[in-house]
Symmetry: C2
Subunit: 346 residues, 2 copies
């Protein structure tokens, strides 16, 4: 087993991945010294299908006990690091798994789900996704209640794929800091999927977290994006929202077939009477930039952040300590913990 590259006091955490999970991927996590990963377990799956996905993860935990372990709390990240494993935290990229049934939020939390997006790309009962930006009327009344319930049980509101107004509403309505687990500033790469400076500022002011995405469509120059450009973007983002509110959310989809990205995009639109939308035809996963193809490449990002002027403490924060702090005050019942970083970021 490759030794962890981080010091005793530091964590390396990836705030979002959706790989085709395998021993290879888990060994690369160990090679990269990755102590925890927020793993997407559902997009368009309903509650029962999501349960099946959780059981499939249990089989992976059974099969690879020396590589991975279930992640439920910040303490589990320390346990994972101390035992040379990666803690896997569950999240969903859509509200579909809760089926508009607010009680299922607590049930999903009991089963280990720690992040949920209020919407994926399109409009749903709780919020509007970025591709329907024109019809974004913000977080719905049901969405407001869902946020309150997520706040109560300790499930992070994730607005990575949501449109601007919905995202700003969620930041304002949530009593606990929220996350944009995987996105970049739209000022760097102009796409509705990335976030405006207004969103980033509001996120930082409330102690929320941004995880920098390494998905090529979120990067300047796509697959040709350089590590230096990525890290300079991180430095500019720190000026907007504070380095202590930044992390990595790589959106690594390693090993997924192209059919998966078409399903991600068309999941809620397609039925047997609907032709495949033009936006989906022929779409596939782009190549990763050559400096981040697998989890094993994680140390290179730390080096790049240092090279653009981040201090060792700031770099360690972005590589995982900030997510660790956020995990510590986000996953328990609302009354049990205080969002310390909200004050720090104020």
């Amino acid at each position: 087993m490759t030794a962890s590259t981080n010091g005793d006091a530091n964590y390396v955490i990836d705030g979002l991945q959706y790989c085709s999970w395998s021993e290879t991927v888990f060994r690369q996590m160990r090679a990269g010294g990755v102590d925890a990963v927020h793993a997407t377990i559902a997009y368009h799956e309903d509650f029962r299908e999501t349960l099946g996905n959780i059981l499939a993860w249990n089989r992976l935990f059974d099969q690879f006990p020396s590589l991975i372990m279930p992640g439920r709390s910040a303490e589990d990240v320390a346990t994972a690091r101390d035992t040379g494993r990666t803690a896997i935290f569950f999240g969903t990229q859509n509200c579909k798994p809760a089926e508009h049934d607010l009680e299922l939020i607590e049930v999903l939390h009991l089963l280990g789900v720690r992040f949920m997006q209020l919407s994926y790309n399109s409009k749903c009962a709780w919020a509007t996704g970025w591709v329907e930006e024109d019809q974004d009327e913000g977080v719905t009344e049901t969405g407001r209640r869902a946020i309150a319930e997520m706040n109560r049980v300790g499930m992070v509101v994730d607005m990575s794929h949501s449109a601007e107004r919905s995202t700003l509403d969620a930041i304002e309505q949530s009593s606990r800091p929220i996350a944009v687990s995987h996105a970049n500033p739209s000022a760097w790469r102009a796409t509705g999927r990335n976030k405006s400076d207004a969103v980033l500022k509001a996120l930082g002011e409330t102690g929320g977290m941004l995880g920098f995405s390494l998905y090529p469509r979120h990067l300047k120059d796509d697959s040709d994006c350089t590590l230096e450009s990525f890290c300079e973007m991180a430095a500019r983002t720190a000026e907007i929202m504070g380095a202590e509110n930044l992390g990595i959310g790589s959106d690594l989809c390693q090993g997924q077939p192209d059919a998966v990205v078409r399903w991600m995009r068309s999941g809620v639109w397609e039925d047997e009477d609907t032709p495949t939308p033009d936006s989906v035809k022929g779409v596939g996963f782009p190549d990763q930039p050559d400096w981040f193809r697998t989890n094993a490449d994680m140390p290179g990002i730390a080096a790049g952040l240092g090279a653009v002027g981040f201090s060792a403490t700031e770099t360690a924060g972005i590589m995982g300590n900030n997510w660790h702090r956020f995990f510590a005050y986000s996953f328990g019942p609302a009354e049990a913990r205080e969002p310390a970083a909200a004050a720090a970021a104020g």
Copy 2:
């Protein structure tokens, strides 16, 4: 808070209750020194309804944190005792909550369910209940698979309400010791709901547990049953299956309205076109014997067991240590623990 009546090394555990849960009941548990209770959370409820019942228990845990706590493992019983609380273990009295979906067994286990009856009173897809004894063809093929899955995840097969052949089948087919969490010998009180000597013998030979019921319809002389008669029955049962395989499973239904017992009995038979079965008309809960009306009366049973000749160790075993040992080897994954008592009882 009343001090626990048991010594440092002993536990007091009730192997089944279905009270109308309240602060009064929980305070009586503390008064009786009860460290753990297996609480029924569902009879005829489907999966989604059972989830709601679990959430209702979570609200009780939130509301009475100084009196009760969730019970998931034998270690939790020690924690409860050491902190002056009662650990509540979830169980269902029917297979309905799993909806014939074997994957839901693991999901229910993840949510804390540690006991499940293969059937309630009537025939179902997994086994036959005692009131349909005439049509008992034993554990079904689906039931056999359910047992295997319960064995795998660490959920106890409970045959309290099942008919003779189904019960014997379950004892034989289960790779781990099973439980009859609440029943008495039919030789003492003749009712199909109680268990034959053949069942008791097979149960003991495989390290299974019998919890003595204090529900009047399972007692000789009903509500007039004396403590002495109950304890003499316990002594005779120990001769059949070993004192180390005996516990209490009081079936206490304190505070439940009579409508509940009618729902228990007719749950799977009644629909809007079906007249109320004669067996259910006018049925209500009988009065408890005057020596066991609430959890606070638990110490009196220990005294009674001693009076009929059980040693201090045997009495402590029946009052809770035997359940504690059974919990320790029953609730984890199949490969993690050995059924030590099976050898002891052989």
